[in-house]
């Protein structure tokens, strides 16, 4: 058992022939992910390292049974690529791309929700089900199998945390980067519910940041959970009104500050670490 993806997941990579697409596909294959197809319109019939390339996601699904997709196409084509996957019956879409117009994400988000399709991202490093499957760009060498579920809005900060955990002998069941954009397909709330129901996950690390109210929504779910959650919230020194890199990382209103998120989580019993490395001690306490 795992969450969202597992060793049987069959992945199609949209944008497989691009520089990023080809590089990360090879990394995923090296990890053991079943990349069964690639899609680059116009390059159907070719292959990359033996992975067949198709003109359309529909054909890829028909010929290979692909059920999950990773999208590594430019922002201008990402909405179209996501809708194409949805249309072709893909059940999990991992949207890596940054810079997608908000209007496009509104459409993709609502259509995925209506169709019951799991959308991860946009602007995310992806998901790794340790030892089973990686869909995304996370550096898999630092991940180790174990009982901690990680969920984060960050990229490299997540890798840093995972690295500390692994070095401390604490492995991870799944690590999922939900993305740094204001509109994301899968939120903390969604992942926490999955982790609560996942027999492989015994405790959870939540890495949040300024902007939005995802952490507050998470606090509501945590109230109902049995499994322990520990957290870290970045951006305590961020000034109001300024976008801190991530499009979704902006303090605009009292609830969106790091302090507000820390308070909301602490109020439901989530210990929050002041430092990145301190997360390891917090998780040790609850395992």
């Amino acid at each position: 058992m795992a969450i969202i993806i597992d060793e049987n997941t069959k992945v199609v990579v949209q944008g497989i022939t691009g520089r990023e697409g080809s590089f990360h596909t090879r990394q995923m294959v090296a990890y053991g992910t079943k990349v069964v197809a690639g899609v680059t319109p116009g390059k159907g019939g070719q292959d990359m390292d033996g992975i067949p390339i198709f003109n359309t996601v529909a054909e890829a699904v028909k010929k290979t049974g692909a059920n999950a997709s990773m999208i590594m196409v430019p922002a201008a084509f990402s909405c179209d690529a996501a809708l194409e996957s949805l249309d072709a019956g893909i059940k999990v879409i991992v949207l890596i791309t940054e810079g997608i117009p908000i209007q496009d994400m509104i459409e993709v988000w609502h259509r995925c929700k209506a169709a019951g399709v799991t959308l991860i991202g946009s602007n995310c490093p992806g998901i790794i089900s340790t030892g089973k499957c990686k869909i995304g760009i996370l550096p898999h060498a630092i991940h180790m199998e174990g009982p901690v579920g990680v969920v984060s809005r960050s990229g490299t900060l997540t890798y840093e945390v995972v690295d500390y955990l692994t070095k401390a002998g604490i492995g991870q069941s799944t690590c999922i980067g939900i993305g740094g954009d204001p509109l994301i397909g899968t939120t903390f709330k969604d992942v926490l519910i999955d982790y609560e129901n996942d027999p492989e996950t015994k405790a959870i690390v939540l890495i949040g940041e300024i902007g939005g109210s995802d952490e507050q929504d998470a606090a509501e779910i945590i109230k109902t959970m049995k499994k322990p959650v520990v957290g870290f919230i970045g951006g305590r020194t961020a000034p109001p009104g300024k976008r801190m890199g991530h499009a979704g990382a902006i303090v605009s209103g009292k609830g969106s500050t790091a302090d507000a998120k820390v308070a909301a989580l602490e109020a439901v019993g989530v210990p929050i670490s002041d430092t990145i490395v301190g997360i390891v001690d917090l998780i040790k306490n609850v395992l």
Binding site: Q27, G99, I106, H110, P139, G155, L183, I210, F232, K242
Partner: protein
């Protein structure tokens, strides 16, 4: 991307909104001529990319030509919240019987556009939300269903708009939603929308923010782009394509690869610094650590006279530490580091990278704790 009021008015006009004719002037003489053509009284409004222009003295009425010249000369060249006024809008001063607020923005939580209307226009919408929330109406737009006039009428009649204004405002909002979709706007506001004694409904102010991610598909909007930066270092950083935010009262420059990592590093410096060391900026160089980007980043950060030390925090995931180290050396080739620069390298090939940096102008360390110690050591020795 924010745009000037007069550009927003032009877009409103294109979409058929009732906007009084106005003119833009860059000199008091131009303002006077424009005012004479329009007829008195006129209102002269500073065109700068900040809110609260009126309170800051950037909006003035003028009764005659000499007055228009005088008011314009006071406003032009004024420093309004850090921005210098280079142009003014000269518009007819409209008689106002009642004022309203209408706008469309993004509700991040519900992932939908939301129409917001208030029958208490001209007042700060947040104040109305606090004091008289019954005067505010909201309607969330289903992207597939679209926006329908009856939905707007329901909202507008429901929050106290007088009937004649409600009907006109509904039509205006339909046009504004079309503009939002056409041009990838993240916010559009008409505050105030007014009813004149003669029964006209007019848009007296215009505000539009565009979704930066949508700009690529609206090249014509590039013409409206103006720098919102009031800080010269931020202006320089943005001109170099760097993701940089300057912080007030800081003294340790922060550079890292990844927004979350940079924010966390800023927080850690603040905590460990115990008041002596404080983050001076946010700068995310993203993945890859290309020499050119690193050089620009260091230059910008060190150009801040407040910066007494720099902490670079790089976690190499797929990026390899030895590559980062070489990139850093290349970046400072031929230049001198004006302040101590601590580089914390972790992740893939970090040991190789740290080895490469030994003996260089950088202070290479492996752990963030060591980096913080080095930084506080420098800063304490300066006190």
């Amino acid at each position: 991307m924010k745009i000037q009021e007069h550009h927003a008015r032009d877009i409103f006009k294109k979409y058929g909104l009732p906007v009084p004719d106005a003119a833009v002037a860059t000199t008091p003489e131009e303002a006077k001529s424009a005012a004479e053509k329009i007829g008195f009284p006129v209102v002269i409004k500073a065109q700068v990319l900040v809110g609260g222009r009126g309170k800051a003295g950037g909006v003035k009425l003028a009764d005659n030509a000499a007055d228009a010249f005088d008011k314009a000369s006071k406003i032009l060249g004024m420093d309004l919240k850090g921005l210098i006024v280079e142009k003014v809008l000269v518009a007819p001063a409209v008689d106002i019987q009642s004022e309203y607020y209408i706008g469309i923005t993004l509700d991040r939580d519900r992932k939908q556009h939301v129409v917001i209307a208030s029958s208490a226009g001209g007042v700060d919408i947040e104040k109305v939300a606090e004091e008289t929330p019954e005067k505010i109406g909201k309607h969330w737009i289903d992207p597939a269903y679209g926006l329908h006039d009856f939905e707007l009428r329901k909202m507008l009649f429901g929050c106290g708009f007088e009937p004649k204004v409600a009907l006109k405002a509904a039509g205006i909002l339909m046009k504004l939603y079309k503009a939002v979709i056409d041009l990838d706007m993240s916010l559009v506001e008409v505050n105030p929308l007014v009813l004149t004694p003669s029964g006209d409904v007019l848009a007296i102010d215009a505000k539009i923010n565009f979704d930066d991610n949508g700009l690529y598909r609206h090249p014509e909007l590039k013409a409206f782009k103006e720098s919102e930066d009031t800080d010269p270092i931020e202006k320089d950083a943005h001109a170099r394509g760097l993701t940089y935010v300057r912080l007030e009262g800081g003294n340790v420059g922060i550079i890292g690869n990844g927004a979350g990592l940079v924010m966390a590093t800023m927080d850690e410096v603040n905590r460990a610094g115990k008041g002596i060391a404080k983050p001076a900026n946010f700068l995310d160089i993203g993945g890859g650590a290309q020499a050119e980007v690193v050089r620009n980043a260091l230059e910008v950060v060190m150009s801040d006279p407040n910066v007494k030390a720099v902490l670079i925090n790089v976690f190499g995931g797929l990026t390899r530490g030895d590559e980062v180290a070489r990139g850093l050396l290349q970046a400072v080739e031929g230049t001198k580091l004006s302040v101590p620069v601590v580089i914390r390298l972790a992740g893939t090939n970090c040991k190789e990278g740290l080895e490469i940096l030994k003996g260089s102008a950088f202070t290479p360390v492996e752990s963030l704790a060591d980096a913080l110690e080095e930084i506080t050591k420098f800063m304490t020795s300066k006190v």
